[in-house]
Every structure is written in structure tokens, then in C-alpha cells.
Symmetry: C2
């Protein structure tokens, strides 16, 4: 039923270990894919800069083949399942995977098959989630939530997924109950890189004390955050504000303000942070100032677990229907 | 003592009316200049895209001559006073005019003369203002404040100067007591033009009701403004949020949030708005929601009045010193 990788040139795949299916996280700006053995064991990884926002609809299949082609079973054998989450399913991208509407489980039992010209592919794109009031959407994060639920089926609490558009997600009884997005990461990038603050905010570097001081200020007086921003420029002009301190304080102010606004989500809840390690640690530090002890989960592991759960649900369904797997 | 414009080609100057001095507002992105007759009467106007942020120090004099050359008295006659406010006096621009530190009058009695190679020029650049705690700076707006004080010497209240970096300025007894800057205009431009919201926020257009609803929301819950922004994108994806409504609501949210943060400035005060007419009206509408009836003053008239006051002070000083005018 499964092929074996025949070429010893395929980096990272031990010769003789089967690629049973392929997990793909296809975001706006890049693609990451994992060759999977069995239900949930990644045996190789690849990435490409062919982000979903950079491709016309007919460019997706060639881009996918360019990334994962060496992992596919040969023509004539059963096609390889490729389970994709993220912006590849947005309107105008490869094939639109319409949003599920919360409250609902984070991924559907039977995501639609995406037509391909290459017969070696059996592609499915997982849909995102939408919320009607207040309006909100996610694509990709729902799969990390599915991974969290797969690992902790009884999870009842809040997942915070920090990133360009940070999501706060209330999860209960295996469903996403509600969620809220904050543009904090994008706002930080715009202010630090494009605004007048770029002249006095370092492009990198980190000062934890300055971050925490900013976060404390943002948490205590979120309404005053807009009054603090220009001071990061003025502090360098009339004082000697260090660029790394300015960068860290800016991050703290914005994250502190976000956490203050998101208080209805996290107050009194079990909170799991799912994001890049440095960013998750920053959110964790700011949440600790608010008296909350959040856990951290590995974002990549959650993505893979969510894709694996979707593929397992699909296999179970196919098997119970008596169809060819 | 004054020359007459000799060329009938000089647009806007009636033949035979003297250009006594020249007023210049030299900002980051453009230059505006007025040929002045007597103390405070503009008789012609010009502008150029030679903003201070685009020029090396030695490019300022040629750029100035390119803009106002036709207005100058001929060589051999007394040089023409050119009074400049704005970013031309920033560090790294033409010649740094170091900030005055508040509390202080908005412009000094004797701004430094800027050396020029062309003997027809007698250039002075007015300094900006700085504040130590919290750190803040302005360059250009102080001259509009000087204009306001010139027109209303007993003004005791707050000037709000909406723009890229909106300033709230407490003025009393002819001095700037304190001030606070908000990056609201720049934030709006970045969010509407550079962020994910650009896909659903119209590049222009205005819906007054949507603006006021956004402003009311921002005023009532400034801490929640970060929670509203991504909703402008999601509202278009899962609903039918109109791009012009989205643009106006975004502006309202940001301005409402700013006004809430600036409450210690405006509460119970006489507030004068000095800015572009449409923007001043928007701020006036949002302030009215907060129960405040602000006045509007013409921004260009305030700039010219401030430059005229600085030049008059200079002339008085020169005359009282018995020096050649």
C-alpha cells in the first residue's frame, strides 16, 4: 500500500522508510511540507518560498510538485495523500475551501478533494474558520487547534497563537467556541520598519527588561498606548533611548495592550501558547505580569498533529465506507 | 528699502507690489513659500516637492533659490529676509536649529542666521520645541502656535494640530506649557495602505456616519481598538463591509482612541483645531461626541502668522539695536 523512497539522494529520509502521506502548511509567504511515515511520524521536511499569496491558481500544483515530487509514489500506484492547511485554500488561491463557521470542530470530517492533473496526487485542503459576530477569520491556525485537541482531547481553555495576526481561541468540548484576532505582529513590523520609528528602533536585538516594562505599561493603561509610540522617536532625539530598548519597549507596549484587550479570553482560563518560541516566550512573560501562568506548545508539532488528525479522520471514513483507501 | 518685482511673468504677484520678505514652511516632504508684502500680507505663493527629508545639506540653498529666486531683490540691494519653519532645521537637514525646551514661547526672539553663498538671501530657520518628560518633539507646529498667539495673545487653552503626527499643545500666557504627539495619521496610512487591511479599505472616499460610529467606539473603549482592526478585513470576507465604510470606520476608531487618550489635554479646555480642513472637521466631529465644541483655525493662515510674528520680532530687535535692517 505504501511505496518506499528509492533514491538515497533524498535528504533526511532514511533509505527504506516509507512515505505514507504528506503534510503541508501552505501560508501566504511560504510553504512547509513533511514526509510522513505511518499516521503521525515526520521523516523528512522541506520548505519553499512559493507562498500562496505569490501564486496564480494554476501555479499551485507545479509549486507543490517542485517541493514534494521526490516523496510521491510512482504513477500506477495508489496516489499519495497530501493534506494541506493554510492560505492555499483562500478565495483566489488554489481552490477555495470555504470557512467553517464557529462554534464547530476545527477541521471537518471530509475536506473536499482538490482536482490535480498529476495522477500521483490526492490533495485535500483544510478549510479555515469564520465567526459572524464580531466578524473574524482564520486559515491555518485551526489546524494547530485540531492538533492541540488531538493531543489533549479534553482541553477546555484558550489557545493563544501569536504571530502576524495573533489569534485568541476559546476551545471547549472539541470545538472552537469563539476567537479574536489582533494585528499586533503586523503593527509592530509596520511601526518598526516603515514608520518614523524606524529611525530609532533597532531592526533586531532584545532587551527583556525593556519589553516587560513596556508590557506592564500597556497592560495597566492600554488606552494610553497610542500616546507612548511617538515618544520612542522623541526619546532618541531629546534623550539617549537605546535602539534595542526602543524595539523591545515597542513590542511590550503593543503586546501588553493586546493582552489587556483580550482579557475576556484569558481571565481564569487554562491558556496554551502556540507560536514561534521567542514570541511565545514574550507573550508568556507579559501574561505572567497579568498573573497568568500560560503553557507553551510547539507550533510545528501542533500543525503536524492537526494535519495528521485530519488525515486519520479521512482514512477512517474511507475505510468505514468500504472504498479503496 | 524694498524692491519691486520687475517681471510680469511672476505668477500671482501684481506688478508693482513689493516683496518685502519671504515666508517658508519647509516640511519633510515638500516646501511652501509665500512672497510677503509689509508685515503679514501674502501676495504670491509657491510650492515644491523638494522636502527636507529628500535633500543633502548643500542642496537646500539651491532648492530654496529654485523656489523663491524670482522674488529676491537684486544683488547690491539689501538681502531679502527669508524666515523658515519646519524640518529644514532638523539635525542632518540644512542647519540644525536646536529645540527650545518647554515651557517656553513657541518661537525665540532671535533665531540664528543661516549662512548662504548667495548674498541676496538673509535666511533664518525657526527652531522646534522639545519636552523632556515625557519625551516629545515638534518642528513646524510651534510656528502655527506662534501664529495662534499672535492672533489671540490671551489664548489659554489647547491647540490640536491633526496630521501625520497629531500634536495636542497646552498654551498659556504666551507659552507652550506641554504637548503630546500621536502617530494617528501615520498609523492610518500604514494600516490602510500597507497592511492586510489594504485589501478591504478603500484608498479614498468618506462615510461620515461610519466615521462617527468608529469614533464613538474608540472613545468609549479605547483599550478595545486593537481588537477591532482585523475585523475590518474579516467583515469584508464573511460579510459585505463596504470599503469606504471600512476606511471611515478605521479613521474613526483611531481618532476616537487618540481623543480618549488625550483627554487630560482637552477636558474642560478651549480647544482650537489647526489642520487641513477635512481632517480638522473629522477631529471636531469626534470631539463633539465627547461633548466638546472645538473651534477651527486655518492652518496656512496660522503658519504665515507665526512666520510673520517671528520676522516682526526680528525687525523690532534689529531696529532697537540700531543695526541696519
Amino acid at each position: 500500500m505504501t511505496s518506499r523512497t528509492s533514491s538515497p539522494l533524498i535528504d533526511g529520509i532514511a533509505d527504506g522508510i516509507a512515505v505514507d502521506w504528506i503534510a503541508v502548511d501552505w501560508g501566504s509567504s511560504n510553504l512547509r511540507a513533511w514526509a510522513m511515515n505511518g499516521t503521525s511520524r515526520p521523516i523528512s521536511e522541506t520548505s519553499a518560498a512559493t507562498g500562496a499569496s505569490t501564486l496564480a491558481p494554476d501555479a499551485f500544483e507545479p509549486a507543490l510538485l517542485g517541493a514534494i515530487g521526490p516523496w510521491l509514489r510512482e504513477a500506477g500506484q495508489p496516489p499519495t495523500d497530501v493534506i494541506i492547511c493554510g492560505m492555499a485554500g483562500a478565495r483566489g488561491a488554489w481552490v477555495e475551501a470555504p470557512y467553517g463557521t464557529v462554534p464547530c470542530p476545527p477541521s471537518p470530517a471530509n475536506p473536499a478533494r482538490v482536482p490535480t492533473t498529476d495522477p500521483r496526487l490526492a490533495v485535500r485542503i483544510l478549510p479555515g474558520l469564520s465567526q459572524t459576530a464580531p466578524p473574524d477569520v482564520m486559515r491555518g491556525e485551526e489546524t494547530q487547534i485540531a492538533g492541540l485537541i488531538a493531543e489533549e482531547p479534553r482541553f477546555d481553555g484558550v489557545a493563544c497563537l501569536p504571530g502576524t495576526h495573533t489569534k485568541w481561541v476559546h476551545v471547549s468540548a472539541g470545538e472552537v467556541v469563539s476567537f479574536a484576532s489582533y494585528m499586533t505582529g503586523e503593527m509592530f513590523a509596520l511601526l518598526a520598519g516603515q514608520s518614523v520609528l524606524r529611525r530609532t528602533v533597532a531592526p533586531d536585538g532584545w532587551d527583556e527588561a525593556a519589553f516587560l516594562a513596556g508590557a506592564e505599561d500597556g497592560l495597566a493603561r492600554p488606552d494610553r498606548v497610542p500616546a507612548r509610540l511617538f515618544g520612542l522617536r522623541a526619546g532618541a532625539l531629546v534623550g539617549d533611548l537605546d535602539p534595542v530598548v526602543a524595539r523591545s519597549r515597542l513590542s511590550g507596549l503593543l503586546i501588553g495592550g493586546e493582552i489587556a484587550a483580550a482579557k475576556p479570553y484569558w481571565l481564569g482560563r487554562d491558556v496554551v501558547l502556540i507560536g514561534a518560541p521567542a514570541l511565545s516566550r514574550a507573550y508568556g512573560g507579559a501574561l505572567a505580569l497579568a498573573g497568568l501562568d500560560a503553557r507553551e506548545a510547539d507550533a510545528t508539532a501542533m500543525t503536524i498533529a492537526g494535519l495528521a488528525a485530519a488525515r486519520a479522520a479521512l482514512r477512517t471514513r474511507v475505510a468505514s465506507n468500504g472504498a479503496h483507501p
